[in-house]
C-alpha cells in the first residue's frame, strides 16, 4: 500500500519535472523525487531487514537530496543565467509525450519482461518510464542544467529498476554508482561554468553554430 503511494508519487514528480518551465522548479522536482526514492528504499530496507539497504538509503539521502541539489543551485547562482529552461516542446505537449512513455513501459513490462504479479510489476514499469522521462528532459530542454538533471533522473529510474527487480545492486556497485554520479555532477558543473564563460550562455542548441 505505502509502496504503491510512493511509486505513484515518483511518477507524478516525473510529470511535474517535465511540465516545469524554470530551472528552480526542475531542481525542486528532482529534490522531491530523490526524497521519495529515499523513503521507498527505507521502506524496502525495513521490509527485507537488510542493513546494506539502510546504508544505501542513507547514501542516497546524502548524495541526491543534499549534496547534488546544493551544487546545482550553486552553479545556477554563480553563472546568473535567466530562469527559463528553454523548451523545444511546450509543457502540455511534453506531458502528453510522457503519458505515451508510461503507456509504452507498461506494455513493455506486460508483454516482454516476465516478472510475477504485484509490486515488482508496478515498480519496474514506473522505473522504465522515469528513465524515459529523464532522457526526454535531456533532449528537449535547452539549458545545460537540464541535461544534468535529466541524467540524474535517468539514474533515479535505474536505481528504482535495480531495487525492484533484484532487491538492489551489489553493495559495492551501489556505492561506486553514487560516487560516479557525484563526481559526474561536479565535472558537469565545471563544464557548464566553462561553457558560460566562453559563450556567455548555456543554451545547448546554440552551441551548434560557430563562435566568431
Amino acid at each position: 500500500m505505502f509502496v504503491d503511494i510512493l511509486l505513484s508519487a515518483i511518477l507524478i514528480t516525473g510529470f511535474l519535472m517535465i511540465a516545469a518551465k524554470r530551472i528552480g522548479a526542475i531542481i525542486k522536482g528532482f529534490i522531491s523525487q530523490s526524497l521519495i526514492l529515499f523513503l521507498l528504499t527505507l521502506l524496502l530496507a525495513y521490509k527485507s531487514h537488510s542493513v546494506e539497504l539502510y546504508v544505501v538509503a542513507g547514501l542516497l539521502f546524502v548524495v541526491k537530496v543534499i549534496l547534488i541539489p546544493h551544487f546545482l543551485s550553486r552553479i545556477v547562482k554563480k553563472i546568473k543565467v535567466d530562469e527559463n529552461l528553454g523548451l523545444f516542446l511546450n509543457p502540455t505537449v511534453s506531458i502528453f509525450v510522457a503519458l505515451f512513455f508510461v503507456y509504452l513501459s507498461y506494455i513493455f513490462t506486460d508483454k516482454i519482461v516476465c516478472v510475477e504479479e504485484g509490486i515488482e510489476h508496478g515498480a519496474f514499469s514506473v522505473s522504465l518510464s522515469v528513465i524515459l522521462m529523464g532522457m526526454f528532459i535531456m533532449i528537449f530542454r535547452m539549458k545545460a542544467i537540464a541535461q544534468i538533471v535529466g541524467l540524474l533522473v535517468t539514474e533515479n529510474g535505474l536505481f528504482l529498476a535495480a531495487a525492484s527487480v533484484s532487491g538492489g545492486m551489489p553493495f559495492f556497485v551501489e556505492i561506486a554508482v553514487f560516487f560516479d554520479i557525484f563526481l559526474c555532477v561536479i565535472i558537469l558543473e565545471l563544464f557548464v561554468y566553462k561553457i558560460n564563460k566562453a559563450f556567455t550562455h548555456i543554451d545547448v542548441h546554440r552551441l551548434n553554430g560557430l563562435k566568431g
Partner: protein, 306 residues
C-alpha cells in the same frame, strides 16, 4: 434503518462542513507563524451574516433571489450521494458518482447566471472566469471518477467504497482529484479565498452582489461542496476503516478514520497553499492539463489491470 443513518450522516457532515475550512485556515496561519482566528470562526461569520439585513439590487431578477437556494440544494443533494462513514447507504439507488459532478455543475450554472444577472462588471467577469476554470476542471473530475469505476466495475459509490484493496491507478486518480479540489474550492494556485483584490477574484467576484442571508446560504453551500470532494477522496478512493454495517463499534472506528483522513487532506492543502503563489489565469490551463494527463494516466494503468 438505512434511511435514518443516511440522513444522520448528511446532517452531521453539514454541521461540521464549516469546521473543515476553519481548520485549514488555522493550519495555514500556524505555518506562517501567526496565531490566527479560532477554528470556529466560519460559524461566527455565518451567524453574523444571518443576523444582517439583505440588500438586493433593483435590477436583479428572480434568478438572483432563487440562486442561493438552488446552490445550497444542489450541494446537499450531492452530499446525500456520498458515502462518508457508512458504505451502505440506501440513497445510492438514486444516482452514482457521475451524478455528483453534474448536480454540482447545476449549482455552478445558476451561480454564474446570478453573477451576470445584476449587470455589474465584476459579476460578469467572475462568471466568465469560473466557467473557464470549470470547463477545464470538470473533465478531470469525470476522468478520475472513471478510473475508480473501472477498477470496481461500477460507478456506484457503495460498491467502490467496499473494494478491499486500493489499486495503483486509484492512487493516481486521487492525485488528480486533489487538483480538482484545489480548483473547485478556489484554493491558492487557481484562486484565492482570502483576498477581495479585484484583479484576482474568481469565485468572490461572482458572489460580490450577495449580502446577508443569501451570502450565508452560498457560503454554506461552498463549505458543503468542499466536504463532498474531500469525502470522495477520503471515503470512496481510500475506504480504509469505513464501516459496512451499522454496529456502534464499527461506526466509531469509521468516524475516527474519516476524521483522520480529512485532517491529513487539510494539512496537504494548507502546505500547498502556503508554499505556492497564485497563478496567472492563463497558467490555469497548464495546471488543468497536468491534472487531466494524470487522470488519463490512471485510466491507462487501470485498463492494464493494475
Amino acid at each position: 434503518m438505512d434511511i435514518p443513518i443516511c440522513i444522520g450522516q448528511t446532517l452531521l457532515l453539514m454541521l461540521f462542513a464549516p469546521l473543515v475550512s476553519g481548520i485549514i485556515k488555522k493550519i495555514k496561519n500556524n505555518l506562517r507563524m501567526r496565531i490566527g482566528a479560532s477554528v470556529f470562526q466560519p460559524y461566527y461569520n455565518l451567524a453574523k451574516l444571518f443576523a444582517k439585513e439583505e440588500v438586493v439590487s433593483h435590477n436583479a431578477s428572480w434568478i438572483f433571489r432563487v440562486t442561493p437556494f438552488i446552490v445550497l440544494a444542489s450541494s446537499i443533494s450531492a452530499l446525500l450521494l456520498v458515502p462518508a462513514f457508512v458504505s451502505r447507504i440506501s440513497l445510492n439507488s438514486m444516482g452514482d458518482l457521475l451524478l455528483i459532478v453534474f448536480v454540482l455543475a447545476l449549482g455552478r450554472f445558476f451561480l454564474a447566471l446570478a453573477g451576470l444577472d445584476t449587470g455589474s462588471a465584476f459579476g460578469g467577469m467572475g462568471s466568465s472566469r469560473e466557467m473557464f476554470i470549470s470547463s477545464l476542471i470538470e473533465p478531470v473530475a469525470v476522468m478520475s471518477i472513471f478510473v475508480v469505476s473501472l477498477n470496481a466495475h461500477s460507478t456506484n459509490p457503495q460498491i467502490i467504497s467496499s473494494m478491499p484493496v486500493v489499486a495503483f491507478s486509484s492512487i493516481i486518480a486521487a492525485t488528480s482529484l486533489f487538483f480538482v479540489i484545489i480548483a473547485e474550492t478556489s484554493r491558492i494556485p487557481v484562486d484565492n479565498q482570502e483576498t477581495h483584490l479585484e484583479l484576482t477574484m474568481v469565485h468572490e467576484a461572482m458572489v460580490l452582489e450577495y449580502s446577508g442571508r443569501s451570502l450565508a446560504l452560498i457560503e454554506i453551500a461552498s463549505y458543503i461542496k468542499q466536504i463532498v470532494f474531500f469525502s470522495l477522496i477520503a471515503s470512496v478512493i481510500f475506504p480504509w476503516g469505513i464501516s459496512s454495517g451499522i454496529s456502534i463499534d464499527s461506526l466509531l472506528i469509521s468516524i475516527g478514520a474519516y476524521c483522520m483522513k480529512i485532517t491529513i487532506l487539510c494539512v496537504f492543502i494548507s502546505v500547498l497553499e502556503v508554499s505556492a503563489a497564485k497563478m496567472r489565469l492563463f497558467r490555469v490551463v497548464d495546471f488543468a492539463s497536468i491534472a487531466f494527463v494524470l487522470s488519463v494516466l490512471g485510466v491507462i494503468i487501470s485498463s492494464m489491470g493494475r
